[in-house]
Point group: C2
Chain length 98, copies 2
Amino acid sequence: MESSIEDVLIDLAELFKNFADSTRIKILYDLLDGEKNVTEICEDIDMTQSAVSHQLKILKTSKLVNSKREGKSVIYFLADDHVSSIIAMGKEHVEEDE
Amino acid sequence: MESSIEDVLIDLAELFKNFADSTRIKILYDLLDGEKNVTEICEDIDMTQSAVSHQLKILKTSKLVNSKREGKSVIYFLADDHVSSIIAMGKEHVEEDE
DNA sequence: TAAACATATGAACAAATGTTCATATGAATA
DNA sequence: TATTCATATGAACATTTGTTCATATGTTTA
């Protein structure tokens, strides 16, 4: 089943919404390092556990991250190679004009 | 003057906000075709003139589009090559899983 | 199994965002 | 220059969104 270009653009907007919040993009950027549990992420990006958990859920729902449980912890990791490409591309743009 | 990675990520979130709304991304996608005046854009994406104008202003402020006046019309065009790269990359991601 | 640790989640709240409506501004033309 | 066409903009409104706070759930260990 093929989607119209309009549908694709709407999905695209949805995708970019994930990168459009500084907490979420910090989480994604943090996970470029490799998989981490929630506590680590909180420390790295200096946000409360609750705020991070809420955002992780959004990222997971949109399939940009995935998770696995390891004992008491839950480990999150990037679900998709495109994430790093998209961040890299945006980063290039942002760093270009300073 | 060098910015911290945190600043870069905040700017990055700001950048992606522009792509995170379907009206704006439709405008940007529409302009991949080439420059167009406001009326054309409205017809192409089927949105009111006011809504489009408001969003064009946002896109212009964030320097993703530029404009020039030609008689009664104002012509808008993409200001940056990165725009197409970013859209293309996201499009690839979105179209991948269907 | 009770306590401690790690994560998830719901409700409430404030702030940000996008559209509409009405109208203003700017430019061409009758 | 009055009218028409094209675009911009402000105010109001509804919606969406992100954080905090309190608490629930799940897992290990004393």
